[in-house]
């Protein structure tokens, strides 16, 4: 039997005959818009743009029931949570940042291979051979830092507004997991450029793994994490996979659990707006409702635009992601630090407990019982994390009012202060113990950029001012047309002459031109050798003996170091 269309066949021609072409175009456009928006017809879009109130029944809630993307979003918010306070939009910003990181990250992935043989070279290619490569890298890096900041602040805000309390304990717990994932996501990416900075920061950051008790387990944990006793090809591949697949997937998944709970319970109202013990977030009186479409949607779009502007303008004009020398497992930079958000751990590893005992003149516990690395580096952070996870379930104070939560608020502030202090203790500014001569050389010409001294003073001298010759700090006669050189020599003189650990210290500086456009800069430090009674050591002729330390670097005309 022949297949037949039912009569009459609706053809475009017939439609036009029936309604006229203007109306037909409108009908088809209307249908298209309604489908794309999952339920809002064209006339309604016009109403929205004109700022008119919705008709009843309200077609603007359709996308929340019909559409996939918006089905997780509430169709209205309580008017009290649509201002900056109490959310500060930090959760939203965290999520946006995650999206931006995904996009810029995929761009970078195109040009990157996770192998120690080529990873660093790939980074150089991204910077000198890929259009927009540097911008993308800078946005990715700036976004990563911003995401860590945003997530931490978001956690603080939910703590201070007591949004973690019943019934939102589980939301908080998933949040803690998100925090951990965010930190590890950022940290795993840190290794990928495979330069000295990343290699040693991650070496420091993973050095606790080995201290996981008992020792047999520690060895295994370390092997699983680094892929070998030390970070190498296997470790790089592992960190890469963690960074581009494993952690993002997990974070994405946990985020939806988190956000589902947020919507289920409703955004908590500012504490002072509810009676103690009440949770009225879901009982929004009609006159307090602010519809998601269009009000909140526009707000969120504006925040997105602001965030992108911040990242793009920031990356283009104010921020450069660092790239140091190629990773060198045989050469540890003097002041190695973990990334800033793990400095508190590095601070813990300097062990405040032992430092306090020393201060008080009390004996240290024997190392057989007390191992800093295990206790401060693994057990204590583990306990802190566990405490954060279950904290809402231990809080029996039902009131969310600030005035009823004095102890909790003080505890929160003390926590922030302790974190800040430990972070400071983690920097090399606190309790570094290298010898004075090494510190001087580091300050003036570190072999790798130093967290305290940057590229060092010597590299701030413009190339033309590096006048070849020999300079002696005991009798400085720098050339007249090299003011910056003169200043650095003056600073060097001051530095060696005033350091109490360099008695009668002086420095000899040799500058020589070794190739066209290449100069060698050498500093030789000499200082009096003292015996254990702080008396000068003398040779057979009775002349005082001097100790010596020296270092040379090369400076090329083109390798501008930022300088002054």
């Amino acid at each position: 039997m022949a297949l037949r269309w039912p009569e009459p066949i609706p053809t475009l021609q017939k439609e036009v005959q029936q309604y006229g072409w203007r109306r037909v175009i409108f009908m088809h456009l209307d249908e298209l818009v309604t489908r794309v928006t999952a339920g809002i017809p064209l006339t309604e879009v016009r109403n929205i743009i004109r700022g008119e109130p919705p008709p009843r029944p309200n077609p603007r809630v359709k996308p929340h029931t019909e559409g996939f993307i918006l089905h997780i979003k509430p169709s209205f918010y309580h008017e009290a949570v649509t201002r900056l306070y109490p959310t500060f939009r930090l959760g939203l910003l965290s999520f946006y940042l995650f999206l931006i990181e995904t996009i810029t990250g995929i761009f970078l992935m195109i040009f990157y291979t996770p192998s120690p043989l080529v990873a660093y070279e790939n980074m150089l290619r991204i910077l000198n051979n890929v259009p927009f490569g540097q911008l993308m890298r800078d946005v990715h890096r700036l976004g990563a830092e911003a995401m860590v900041v945003a997530v931490m602040l978001h956690m603080l805000r939910t703590f201070f507004t007591a949004s973690y309390k019943r019934p939102r304990q589980f939301t908080w717990a998933t949040g803690v997991i998100l925090l951990v994932f965010t930190l590890f996501l950022s940290f795993s990416g840190y290794l990928l450029p495979w330069d000295q900075l990343s290699y040693w920061a991650v070496t420091i950051g993973t050095s606790m793994a080995e201290a996981t008790p008992p020792p047999a387990l520690g060895r295994i944990v370390n092997l699983i994490l680094r892929g070998a006793p030390d970070i190498g090809a296997a470790g790089l591949l592992r960190f890469y996979l963690l960074h581009v697949i494993f952690l993002p997937l997990l974070l994405f998944f946990v985020f939806f659990v988190h956000y589902y709970k947020v919507v289920r319970h409703g955004l908590s109202l500012p504490p002072e707006m509810e009676a103690v013990g009440d949770d009225t977030a879901r009982k929004v009186p009609p006159e307090k409702r602010v519809p998601y479409i269009p009000d909140i949607a526009i707000q969120e779009a504006l925040w997105g635009i602001g965030l992108i502007a911040f990242l793009v303008i920031g990356a283009a004009f104010f921020y450069d992601a660092p790239l140091e020398q190629h990773a060198d497992p045989l050469n540890t930079p003097l002041h190695t630090t973990a990334p800033w958000y793990f400095l508190w751990l590095q601070g813990l590893l300097k062990d405040p407990l032992l430092l306090a005992l020393d201060r008080l003149g009390l004996p240290r516990p024997p190392s057989t019982i007390y191992n800093s690395k295990t206790i401060m580096g693994v057990i204590l952070p583990g306990l802190i994390l566990f405490f954060l996870l279950i904290m809402p379930y231990l809080d029996f104070n039902i009131s969310r009012r600030y005035s009823h939560r004095r102890k909790a608020l003080v505890a929160g502030l003390v926590g922030v202060a302790a974190w800040t202090l430990l972070t400071y203790m983690g920097t090399p500014a606190f309790a570094v113990t290298s010898s004075a001569d090494v510190e001087v050389l580091q300050e003036f010409m570190p072999l790798n950029p130093d967290p305290l001294f940057g590229e060092g003073r010597v590299r701030t001298i413009p190339y033309e001012q590096l006048v070849p010759g020999t300079y002696d700090t005991r009798n400085l006669q720098p050339p007249a047309d090299a003011p910056r050189l003169a200043r650095v020599l003056e600073e060097l003189k001051h530095r060696v002459e005033t350091d109490p650990h360099l008695p009668q210290g002086y420095a000899i500086v040799h500058i020589s031109e070794v190739q066209a456009g290449l100069k060698r800069f050498e500093i030789i430090l000499r200082w009096l050798k003292l015996d254990e009674h702080h008396q000068p050591v003398r040779d057979e002729q009775g002349n005082p003996v001097f100790q010596e330390a020296k270092r040379a670097i090369y400076l090329h005309r083109d390798s501008t170091y930022g300088g002054e």
């Binding site: 490569g133 911008l135 502007a309 070794v514 190739q515 456009g517």
Partner: protein, 294 residues
Amino acid sequence: MFDLATRRIIGATVLMLATVITIGMVWLTEEQRMARYEAIHKGKAIENGALLYEQYCATCHGPNGEGVPGKGPDLNPGVFQHYQELKQTQNYANSLRNFIKLTIAAGRPIRSTYRANEVYADPMPTWSQDFGGPLRPDQIENLVEFILNWQAAGPTPAPTPSFEAVGTDLTKPLPPGDPKRGEALWNQEVKQASGAAASCKACHSLKPGEVLVGPSLAGIATRAAERIRAPDYKGQAKTPEEYIRESIQQPNAYIVEPDKYAAAPGVSKMPATLGNQMSAQDLADLIAFLMTLK
């Protein structure tokens, strides 16, 4: 003036425009930026290469690529000449860069015909980790950049002699002096370690009583012995030699006839930087020569 919604929309439009303009600016300057980055990085590669060269290569090829007899041939201009020779006589088909890179990475297991009449104790070892050496591929690249730079950057400057100047240090032990060489230094027939001629005779005559800028040095050996016994002498010298040494390295320690020879109170007309040009040997030789002027 405007309501909140309008203000927000204006703000967002401005931000969006700013973002687009920023991206446009990046776009327009991208070529230059990439070229600049490349140049900066090449400069750093040469710096790294120079450090590696100093650490690993200089013992056999000399600090300035001039070669070390019995250990290794000169590289500057050796490599460049050798490469040309191979190209012309053997149709060697690789690039100069690869010629250098391969030699460093894999070493020279057998003696090449270049500088064939010279004898070297050991063959050139392999340097790349690929062939069991100590260096990573990126380090080999850096070395290649450094070596190429001997010619790429134009003629090599006359090496700034790297020597230990005596400066103003009076405690540094001096080697035995050679009056003959000291005299040659005085007459500017040989150069000081810095490469510059000694400037003494520009200001000091050896004719008795002739004052140029400073006093004549005729009979200085005898006079030095008297000076250190003079009541107003406040320097540290105990012997005539030490007195001459102090006068050269620290002219301000004691100024004879200040109204004649001081440029300012306490500052001698004689420059205090002469020691920066001299090695310990130069100084010892000059002193030895001056000590012959009884």
